[in-house]
């Protein structure tokens, strides 16, 4: 293996931060190559010395300073788990809010209109007109092309007819 490649790996080799096969390759090269071995030794020395110096120049807390720092931290309000606490609790909060909102929308726009149409005159009139048109258009088609469902409300006698095409899509013609 070429020296250039080996030297590229040397900085990581000193901390054994290379893959196993690279470590093996470097080791077997160093045995044969004095130049790379010297380079490697220089890396080892610089790293060892720097670590030593870091150790010797360690800063320390004075006990009073440390206690004060801890006191300053715990002086804030308790890290209690409240419904308004940040993640993951707001997430749960947000999800339940979204759920309620979705249910409300579903009720307003999907479920409610059928009930409304029963009671409100102009709307049911419009509905009836649409039904008649749909019925007419359905008869013009071949019978296999459409499916018809009829519901009669016992209280009012009002009929509700659904007409679907062969793909089960509700067909509305204007």
């Amino acid at each position: 293996m070429k020296c250039k490649k080996i030297r590229h790996w040397l900085p990581l080799m000193v901390g054994l931060d290379l893959s196993e096969h690279k470590v093996k390759a470097v080791k077997s090269h160093l045995v044969k190559c004095t130049g790379c071995q010297q380079e490697y030794d220089a890396y080892v020395l610089s790293l060892e010395k720097t670590k030593e110096w870091l150790e010797e120049d360690k800063q320390n807390w004075e006990e009073r300073e440390w206690q004060q720092a801890v006191q300053n931290a715990v002086k804030q309000k308790k890290p209690a788990i409240s419904p308004f606490a940040p993640w993951p609790f707001t997430k749960t909060w947000a999800y339940s809010l979204m759920g309620v909102l979705a249910a409300a929308l579903l009720f307003l726009f999907v479920i409610k209109p059928f009930n409304l149409r029963e009671g409100i005159a102009p709307e049911s009139e419009m509905f009836a007109r649409t039904q008649a048109q749909l019925l007419r258009s359905a008869f013009q088609e071949s019978p296999q092309e459409v499916v018809k469902m009829t519901m009669v409300l016992p209280e009012t006698g009002q009929k509700i007819i659904w007409i679907f095409d062969k793909n089960f899509d509700l067909e509305v013609k204007k």
Binding site: L12, G15, A42, S46, L54, W66, N72, A73, Q76
Partner: protein, 192 residues
């Protein structure tokens, strides 16, 4: 004495026991202070960073996922505080100017002061050319002995990025080392 592990202490703190907070952080206090100190080069600033980190650790303790390394989590928060601090500092003043009067304010006796200054300035010289990321990677991996994977977790980057920065850092340190080491030997001889 029965020693509680980190996760147990976290539970105690979350239940409202403030004294457990000190016990929880005590083992890491020197590591955190020195990490911050190396990032800024100033002891008072390092304390400021640690104070900010402690406040965040306490405030967001419920976010810590039990079973994971609490040490890594605390280092991550402290590293964020250090980066925030450096960013703010860079805006307000020239970093290099402020690093001139590092280390020396706190040593009580002159002899110790001289030794500290020497060692301190040697490390400063070795780390001088490192970018903040290279410095952080080097300090976590070689200073505190975190693995490459743990370092990538703390710094929120890939292992590949850690290896790249680590390699660069060690190269720069090795290049500075000979100069610094040689200069120091000369200086000591002339003092004697």
């Amino acid at each position: 004495m029965w020693m509680k592990n980190d996760d147990e202490l976290v539970s105690e703190v979350l239940k409202g026991d403030q004294t457990s907070f000190e016990l929880l952080l005590r083992p890491y206090r020197l590591g955190l202070l020195n990490m911050a100190y190396r990032m800024t080069g100033n002891r008072e600033e390092a304390k400021e960073i640690c104070q900010d980190a402690l406040i965040k650790v306490y405030r967001y303790l419920h976010r810590y996922e039990k079973g994971k390394s609490f040490k890594s989590w605390v280092y991550k928060i402290t590293m964020n505080s250090a980066y925030d601090f450096l960013r703010k500092k860079k805006k307000s003043e020239d970093i290099i100017e402020s690093q001139k009067d590092l280390h020396f304010a706190t040593s009580p006796n002159p002899e110790q002061q001289f030794l500290n200054r020497e060692i301190g300035s040697k490390i400063e010289s070795c780390l001088r050319n490192l970018s903040p990321k290279e410095k952080a990677v080097f300090l976590l991996r070689d200073g505190d002995g975190f693995s490459v994977e743990e370092t990538s977790e703390i710094l929120k980057c890939s292992s590949l990025s850690v290896r790249t920065h680590l390699s660069r850092a060690r190269k720069k340190i090795r290049a500075q080392f000979d100069k610094v080491n040689l200069g120091f030997k000369k200086e000591v001889n002339s003092e004697v």
